[in-house]
Symmetry: C2
Subunit: 159 residues, 2 copies
């Protein structure tokens, strides 16, 4: 298996919620904070995880390794810039970065700021929750989201 020379043209798969999001349709639970030619950056509406962000590839591509080299590097750069923005503003204890896509097999990356007092730490956010974070702490983290949005804007404007 070798990487394709060119990523297949943008395709929209009917019924795919990330195709719909990338095509500009309203996306409940997601705020688009940056739109690039080949991807969008969103803040997820995850009540326990303010600052949980995603990079969503526009085309309906299944795996990272289905991308052409140049696109793979472009996506990698985007995830890295998003990680930097999340670290800068959210000041997490740890960052978790993942591309899973078992439920929605449309290429997207999760960038998740983690804290010792979050609902699952040190387990992944997909494990069973082990605690409830102090609502005041969550509020304080949520208050950072406008600044996170600006930081993402600044980083992606430079690209």
């Amino acid at each position: 298996m070798t990487a394709p020379a060119v990523t297949q043209a943008v395709t929209q798969l009917p019924g795919c919620e990330l195709c719909a999001l990338a095509a500009g349709q309203p996306a409940p639970g997601a705020q688009i904070v940056h739109e690039a030619e080949k991807f969008v950056v969103i803040l997820a509406d995850e009540p326990n995880y303010p600052g949980f962000a995603r990079v969503v590839w526009r085309a309906h591509v299944r795996e990272v390794s289905d991308l052409a080299d140049a696109d793979r590097l472009l996506l990698n750069e985007a995830v890295w810039q998003l990680e930097l923005a999340v670290r800068e503003v959210m000041q997490p204890l740890k960052v978790n970065v993942a591309s899973l896509g078992n439920v929605v097999p449309h290429l997207h990356w999760h960038v998740i700021p983690r804290y010792a007092d979050d609902a699952h730490f040190p387990a992944p956010v997909w494990a069973q929750a082990v605690r409830a974070t102090d609502p005041a702490v969550l509020d304080a983290r949520r208050a950072l989201l406008p600044e996170l949005t600006r930081a993402i804007g600044r980083r992606f404007a430079k690209q």
Copy 2:
């Protein structure tokens, strides 16, 4: 926060199990299948997930975004090659790729072949298991590991 110009020199943190692994100490539950200057590739001993592989950065670095640019791209290339090898040999329904590190904050990437009949599908492998995979199916996947080891060797020899 900007990326460092040069990733800090290789450091070994006493008590870190991935530092110990990268330094060549026996690693229960992990078979080293490729050793590069800056990273190692291992097959994890995860009974429910034959073909679960990892790239472990040698230096005790915490986040992807703590790496110098050249090292970040080198690591990205390694994870991509590993994903290609896993797809080629294991023929999964989906690949999951993640860098978490909450328990062992030493930079490493998981590359996990996923199947509709695996223990957690479509949830992430860190969620609660929902089924037991047919032992004969797991045996058949396990029988592919020598070929996976050779495929990884071929891919990384080219780099």
